[in-house]
Symmetry: C2
Subunit: 362 residues, 2 copies
Amino acid sequence: MAAPKNKSALSENESPSTPNSIGQKSAEKIKALRKKKLDIDQLLQDILNGNKTALSRGITLIESKNVKHNDQVNTLIEGCLPHANQSVRIGITGVPGVGKSTFIEAFGNYLIEKHGKKVAVLAVDPTSSVSHGSILGDKTRMEELVKQEDAFIRPTASGDSLGGVAQKTRESIILCEAAGFDTILIETVGVGQSETMVHSMTDFFLLLKLAGAGDELQGIKRGIMEMADSIVINKADGENKRPAERAKSEFRKALHLYPIKNSEWKPKVLLSSALHNQGIDEIWKMIESYVSSTQANNYFYDNRKEQNKFWLLQTINEHLKSNFYNQPKIKIALQQQLTAIENNKTTPFEAASYLLNKAKEL
Amino acid sequence: MAAPKNKSALSENESPSTPNSIGQKSAEKIKALRKKKLDIDQLLQDILNGNKTALSRGITLIESKNVKHNDQVNTLIEGCLPHANQSVRIGITGVPGVGKSTFIEAFGNYLIEKHGKKVAVLAVDPTSSVSHGSILGDKTRMEELVKQEDAFIRPTASGDSLGGVAQKTRESIILCEAAGFDTILIETVGVGQSETMVHSMTDFFLLLKLAGAGDELQGIKRGIMEMADSIVINKADGENKRPAERAKSEFRKALHLYPIKNSEWKPKVLLSSALHNQGIDEIWKMIESYVSSTQANNYFYDNRKEQNKFWLLQTINEHLKSNFYNQPKIKIALQQQLTAIENNKTTPFEAASYLLNKAKEL
């Protein structure tokens, strides 16, 4: 490339093209932009047509850490929103070993085969950024469900924070609903605040438990009991059947001690053996009864509005953070300040005000 | 006021004064600014001299929601920082009824009278923004300690979020240390994430428990057990003595099951009767032993560095949020968007992007 003569102090580094080539370059740029725009429109159309490959691609775009994709993500979500909200969102939690995957496999197959539902399975896992997706990572754990035409299974979104993961999951729900999935199952491991996050994006919250040795209530967090709309004691088969019956009556008694929920719904305790497809029908009937009673008293809709207000604030907060930390100069400066803290050369307050001031200058 | 003639399009609303009065007004402004500056310098000096009234005023300034005070707060904290860090920070948690106030009263008096310590008591209570300070609110609960010259007791900072409350508490620690307080006790109710917050700003974490009816481990959150450097079974007197001994051995066994901590410290289980001043001496000796062993293996210092890195990020995040939400135009627009969500006129994503774009224009 020929160096321009008479280079003035006002010339910019970003403009290496000579004047007579600008017209051509601009035309190419516009073409490329149009192509991008077209791709998103096509992707949106494919998602709305229920194409699962497109749905997958859309969620991958949502999960992208590349800030350049932000506009595309916004276009996609805005296009999906008018077609969302037509679903029941069910949160499912329980400690590892309780049989969550087997339960979801049995429940999902049942919904598709007996009720013609379209079932999407998502997951919130705050540990996934470290362990790279500890739940749903192994798709073969739901080998029957994954083969169903009307099922969509997506492993955990990864992210730097639970807030970020939850945000992406929430956006993924919108895409799944726009693609025609009418039953959204959101799995969570019982770690940290992940249950609270999942509770804040679902209509019905189901806690899976195992029968133990008479210490059913031990180790169960009070907050989880309060959130549960139902406790299902899984693996209630063979020798486990009688302990499961005992656990059922113990949980029933315990649930009586909690104040009445805003939904006016009295949480139910049921038994299941997901492995033998037992109890699944009863669980679905219970959820249907929950949905019709809370739609009748308006709680279903009011709750979604409250969730939307919460998500408005969460969405803003996540954007404020990602806008700040994703600036390349802030990334470098942050590393320098962390090193300075490590070497006792600065304090968190000094470092924070340095970085905040730096961002103002950018 | 006479309207200026020939008002041009460039005239500003904010300048109602006539030209010949500018000199005088400016002088007054400068004087007022100097006075403000002087006040903060004086306040800082008084705090460094150990004046408790000044310390109180400084913390009130930190807690101020008036964004105009931000600069003064920064000046104050920057002035205090070189004199901070010379203390042991002890977090104390336990459910209501466990006797936290009585314990802190007995422990604080003991430290002052037997060891010549200067003791500051602060609190983190995420529920305080609703209930207006449920812990330490009633100062008479520590009637002996509050009379001590070398004690400083401060009720809960209030705030809109746990993050905000924690930030103010953390800044208050700096001021207390600069005022010469060498032992900082930070009380928390066992609600939500408040323990995690307090754990992230203290050197030693103490969990108060009561002896129960053989179900000691029931209802105790696993995360709390993992954070505890010591479990103290309080009210171990009279008829409670034997159940307390049993609880002690049960907790010891349970703690053995946890992995070794990075501090290499093995959490201890002790008994106390704060009401009868029993066990207090042993508890302090244990904390001294913790401090000397973790200072020897450097964990004490490394942990503070890690906490500082965490607090750098927390400080930035809180500033990003308060800068955004405190803009008057955003406050109004946010209320409008929340109402629109309530009336199903918008979605959280649309509302968030509207508000984020609005902030860019400001």
